[in-house]
Amino acid sequence: MKRLFQRLPRTVPVLALLAAFGLARGPIEEGLRARLVAANLLVPPPAQSAFEQMRQSVLMATLGGLRPLAATYLSLEAFDHFSTKSWDDLRRSYEIVTSLEPRDETHWVAVVWHLGINATANMEIDGRLPAFERERRFKEYAFQAIDFAERGIAQLPESAAIRLQLVEVYREKLKDDCAASRVYGDTIGLPGAPGFVRRFHGYYMARCPGREKEAYAYLTALYREGKSQRKPTLIKEIQDLEKKLGIPVPQRIPEADPDRPRPNQAPRRSSNVLPGGIVVP
């Protein structure tokens, strides 16, 4: 036996051992991979579409195990596109970045901010484009931002940061108070959600046509929670709703209107006057 082993070319036992080990570890590694992916420790392979969009260098870096570095490089490239206002290139960069690192919340927040706030703001003021085109692109970028945010939320269902960035697009750009209220509502109770989201959910619900009664019930319930919730805006919103819904005076909240003129209050500065009396035309 020993003599036979000595006569065998070394390649045979080497290949046999390599193959046996490969066959034995295959199912173990598959199981481990599934458990690591389920624990969010291992990122699943990027989507087919992401592979097709990657340039050769980025593809090589990704395949070579430099996925975080490739994603960081593309994020820096996206920043370059932001500097030159190349919004479509920026979107393409983030398509790949978010495919490479779908569980990194910061990428989703950044792309929603870039497209939903910066690109739309640029469309509001870009004088090189005709008004119709600007309006069309404004909506396009806002909806792309919403699409990214929804994909991000699907990846990270517990993310408050993506929702807060999304709500900014609805609130500031699309002026969609109903959607803003819905997203604020979804944010309540998520880890890291700021305390104001409960009040903002009610404020925007009050502005959503047809939901005034629901908003009134919700905001008065917050009011009854105690002093910590009785912010001037909450009081103002409740009082506006009381007037709008014709709530009988005895049932109204006792607080005075926060916007009432006060005897010792300094006169309000006009919005175009800076401190020192400098007037902005």
């Binding site: 390599l18 624990a39 975080p68 960081t72």
Partner: protein, 296 residues
Amino acid sequence: MRPVPLFSPGRVATIASGTVTQLIRMKTFYFLLAFALVVVAAGNFNLPATPAQELSMIKKVSFGTMDLFAWLFAIVATALLIPRDQEDRTLYTILSKPVRRVEYLLGKLGGVLVVVGVSLVAMYAICATMIGVRESLFVAAEVEAMQADGRYSEEDIAGQVGLIRQQGLRPELAIAVLAFFLKAAVVAAVTIFLSTFASSSLFTIIVSILVFLVGHAHTMASSFWLHESGNSAFVRMLVKVVKILIPDFQLFAFSEGVVLGEAVVWPLVWQMGGLTLAYLAVFLLLSLLVFVDKEF
């Protein structure tokens, strides 16, 4: 005459310490300067990002570079050792003594792993200092700004600080360093196996890097190849052969999740450690099969 024991941990330790000295004399630790430069550069990118985003980027660049240096160092250092011993004739002196070849291989691998481990600890210390300093600066600035604004409650400030701390220096990051070490150990074991039959260091380095790239890519790329080839039988067979012969390095990328702030699942870390030990044992055995009868 006293009989020579079949296996002596002392002899392995002597060869390992000789290997460490050999690698230190090659000025291998100088790459730490390059690493420190990368970390400092990453910490000073002036992007319009929130503190949490900036910390996340510093972490990803630093840990990505750490990973790159670890496996590359493992390949280059291991590939140089046996040919260098042959060139210096040290190998003949060692093997003429009552030293088993398995002890020699184990000592060489052990020496490389010690140097890789020390390098990783040093890189982690540089990286942790950078992240820790930036984190405390960000937290102080954020708290000051929020308090000065006056509209934020203690709860809001704590929430914001928590957001920054989540991306800052956490003890779990050490597990990412452990993942790099495990990956580098497997890479070193594969390289030592390749160097037992390679004709030159250059060949070993190139083939080891190729094996590493293929081992990292095959899981990711196989679905792509299968899709491109219309699920052809030949490609399926090829993918299977590659998966059997080449280690799956992509599994060791669980460090990415840890760096992103995911919770560490200890049983999975132990299982990865066990898998690494299995790789080391098998590749050492393979190296021994080639090396045991090799004539010098």
